[in-house]
Amino acid sequence: MNSILVRHKWEPYLWILPSLLLMAVFVVFPIGIVFKIAFSEVSKSGVVGAFNGLANFRAAVNEPAFGTVMSNTFYWVVSVVGISTLLGFIAAMVLNQSFHGRKLARSILVFPWAAALVIQASIWNYIIKFEYGNLNNILLNLGILRDAVNWRTSYQIEFIWECGVGIFVTIPFVTFCVLSGLQSIDAAYYEAATVDGAGFWKKLSTITVPLVKPSLTVSTVLNIIYVFNSFPIIYTITKGAPANKTDTLVTYLYMLAFYDQKKGQATALSVIGFLILCAAAGLYMTITMRKEDEL
């Protein structure tokens, strides 16, 4: 057994105490406050009043923007996580081959993961500007375009761009997770499959995918959480404009709380966000805990 002797029964608790304390104060406490506000009356100036049941929730759900925001959040999470997982998987398959410059390619792939989201979002915001954006500039210079193209004619298209940026910054994480899974696969499996006459697709579906699944699960679940909570991309590129049409839940609740001073509704939305994430968390826990049985 890979454990050491514990002299006192309470010793382990002493070891985890600092961490527990830190998280209790700075994570659990805010959660408590949010829940308290969500079920209380809040004045415009932010003074928290008496318990008022589900009034905040009702108000939040009855806002005209609520439906759009929820469907945007859904599309945002599904498209960003789905597409980046697919593309990241392909990129990992390619980077798992040996070729010249592989190390360089891996280092380059780190860029979108390492750089701050707010910075990358600003860059993309500049790139797709109509009047002077860099995409138009480069395409005009290369002679691919003859006239500048307006890359953001409508909010739907802007939202698609935001999803694109989300995918762009998410791909490296998926790729590296899958890559670490791929590298732990014994080459003997593939050799045996080749001897048995299995083709590329057969090998992919019977060896690669099942063996990479654990890494893929971790990356997907973590990505769902990150992408759901992702704030800077949308806040930088459109700020949810026009009229919350490109908002997701987190940018919307930020606007509600700090611009419209509707803290009650904002916290109610936070709680709704919790519930959605708890579903994801539960899923994650069941998957992870199953692997942790030997613990």
């Binding site: 890979n2 454990s3 050491i4 514990v6 070891w15 600092p18 961490s19 527990l20 304390l21 830190l22 998280m23 104060v25 700075f26 994570v27 805010p30 949010v34 390619v94 980077l95 070729f99 360089l104 280092s107 780190v110 979108p112 390492a114 750089a115 701050a116 707010v118 910075i119 990358q120 600003s122 860059i123 500049y126 790139i127 860099n134 500039n137 210079n141 290369l142 002679g143 691919i144 500048a148 762009f168 997770c177 670490s180 890494s215 699960t217 971790v218 973590l222 909570n229 704030f231 800077p232 609740l253 930020y254 904002a266 916290t267 936070s270 994650y284 826990m285 692997k291 942790e292 030997e294």
Partner: protein, 529 residues
């Protein structure tokens, strides 16, 4: 006479090459470029198609068209309903003059007004010619030979021929793009610096485009001149690809592995280009002048002059202070996260106790809640603790929200190290604190460094909490600090990106250092337990 399979295959490859080459030559004799300009526009008033005013306008347009060779009249009809409910039309007659040229004509027209993209056409022709010559040279007496028995010289010749074939293929889109670019540039140059260039340019342009143009009207003709590439040019691409395949077949005997390899490199190159593109934009925009950042037309890809003073400008506007704040914040957050995380991870990895599973669950749960969702709660808490608008507060928040990952990564590292040494030390009377510090930590150093850098980068890149909690400018970390360059109605892109550049370089380098460890830590710590 029966041929060996190798000879048969080689012969097929040869036929493939020859056929592709023939088609390619035919294509180069078809018009590949079209230069066109509107020389005359006439709008008829509100009319009905076919009535008097319409005919009048049309006659005028036809008269104008007659002055040019090959001019065509384009009619555009806009219909609308007037107040009486009748549908009237406004007809616009554009007399469009156009000249079509084949690649050969373009090659022949090099004169004073040269399109520098013609060099690409030269390169293209040269590549094809050389490929053919090299291929032919390698054929002497060796058509029947198996590929692995070929002499070295022949193999080299054929490989070179294949590379030339690839080069010829790549020349085609380059030609199209640079032609367009150069032509537009030459014309705009001619129009702006007319006097200087006219001596050589006018006759050459005339020869190139307007042998029948009325004298002295060239400037008007060039204004609004456009160039289009026509389909024969792009048809060259697949044809040359077939030629390339033939060459590869000749030199390797098999196409599939070569293509797979080429596809692999193509994918990697495209991926890298796409990923580097925004960072390239950041780099070049950081050194542009203010005027250039918001000017699209006549802007080169690279800055016309590299404005290094942008850096000194942002230094004067407080960016060093933001960077310092970021360093402070990230270092503090990392220190707190590790001081709290290492003991917890140690207990999780080495000790058995009740509630271990619940603590793990708690850690995982805390990962679910991003600070954004909790912002209202966090601001309230910070007000209560009197930590709002301070870097110290940010340190604690960042440390707390990175606890999950820190414990996760560290636990994975600790578990992967055998506990025998510590157990031996414990038997020798060493307590668990010194066992951790003296034995485990040195062995776990790589994992700890990975965690350290990871938390550091996360704290460095954090934006949302800082933007809400910090209002004093001198307390802002860099991610919030850069937004001072983008106000509602004006964004100073060059300063924004210059500071972003300074903020990005260190984290990217740090990240590259830990990339390998981080990934194995994330998945192994998470999955294998």
């Amino acid at each position: 006479m029966t041929r060996s399979p190798a000879a048969k295959r080689n012969l097929h490859a040869l036929w493939l090459c020859a056929a592709a080459l023939l088609v390619a030559v035919v294509l180069t004799f078809l018009p590949a470029l079209e230069f066109s300009t509107v020389v005359f526009t006439k709008r008829s008033g509100n009319t009905f198609v076919g009535d008097e005013r319409y005919l009048e306008a049309r006659a005028e347009a036809e008269a104008a068209a007659a002055a040019f060779e090959g001019a065509a009249i384009h009619e555009t009809v806009i219909e609308r309903v007037n107040s009486k409910g009748e549908t009237t039309s406004m007809v616009t007659f554009d007399v469009k003059e156009s000249t079509r040229m084949t690649i050969w004509q373009l090659l022949a027209s090099i004169g004073g007004f040269s399109l520098s993209s013609v060099h690409t056409a030269h390169a293209f022709a040269l590549c094809v010619l050389l490929a053919v010559v090299l291929g032919a040279l390698s054929l002497r007496g060796q058509l029947a030979c198996e590929h692995r028995h070929l002499p070295r010289s022949t193999r080299v010749l054929r490989t070179c021929a294949a590379w030339l074939g690839l080069a010829a293929m790549l020349c085609v889109p380059l030609f199209g793009m640079s032609c367009n670019y150069n032509f537009t540039r030459q014309v705009s140059l001619y129009l702006t610096e007319h006097a200087e260039l006219s001596g050589q340019a006018v006759p050459a342009l005339e020869r190139l485009l307007y042998s029948a143009a009325p004298a002295g009207e060239l400037e008007a003709l060039l204004d609004g001149m456009t160039m289009t590439t026509l389909w024969p040019l792009w048809a060259l691409l697949p044809v040359l690809f077939v030629f390339l395949l033939g060459l590869i077949l000749l030199c390797k005997g098999e196409i599939k592995p070569t293509l797979a390899r080429g596809g692999l490199y193509a994918f990697v190159i495209v991926l890298c280009v796409v990923i580097l593109y925004p960072f390239f934009v950041m780099l070049i925009t950081a050194f542009r002048s203010n005027a250039e950042t918001t000017d699209m037309y006549f802007l080169h890809i690279l800055p016309t002059t590299w404005v290094w003073s942008n850096i000194s400008d942002i230094v004067a506007r407080g960016v060093p202070r933001f960077l310092l704040n970021s360093i402070l914040l990230s270092t503090g957050a990392t220190a707190i996260a590790l001081v709290c995380g290492i003991p917890a991870a140690y207990a999780m990895a080495r000790m058995q106790f009740r509630g271990k599973k619940s603590f793990l669950g708690f850690v995982i749960m805390s990962q679910m809640f991003a600070p954004v969702v909790l912002l209202v709660g966090i601001t309230q808490l910070m007000n209560t603790l009197r930590l709002n608008d301070t870097i110290l507060g940010l340190m604690f928040i960042n440390a707390a929200f990175n606890q999950a990952f820190a414990i996760w990564l560290l636990r994975g590292t600790f578990v992967s190290i055998s506990s025998e040494m510590e157990q031996a030390a414990c038997i020798d009377g060493c307590n668990s604190v010194s066992a951790l510090i003296r034995i485990l930590l040195p062995m776990a150093a790589p994992g700890i460094v990975t965690t350290l850098i990871f938390v550091f980068i996360n704290a460095w890149n954090e934006y949302t909490i800082s933007t809400v909690l910090i209002s004093t400018p001198t307390n802002k970390p860099i991610t919030v600090g850069i937004t001072q360059f983008s106000s509602f109605n004006m964004i100073e892109w060059q300063y924004l990106f210059a500071s972003a550049l300074l903020a990005t370089i260190p984290v990217v380098i740090l990240f590259m250092l830990i990339e390998k460890h981080l990934v194995s830590g994330l998945t192994s710590g998470g999955v294998k337990g």
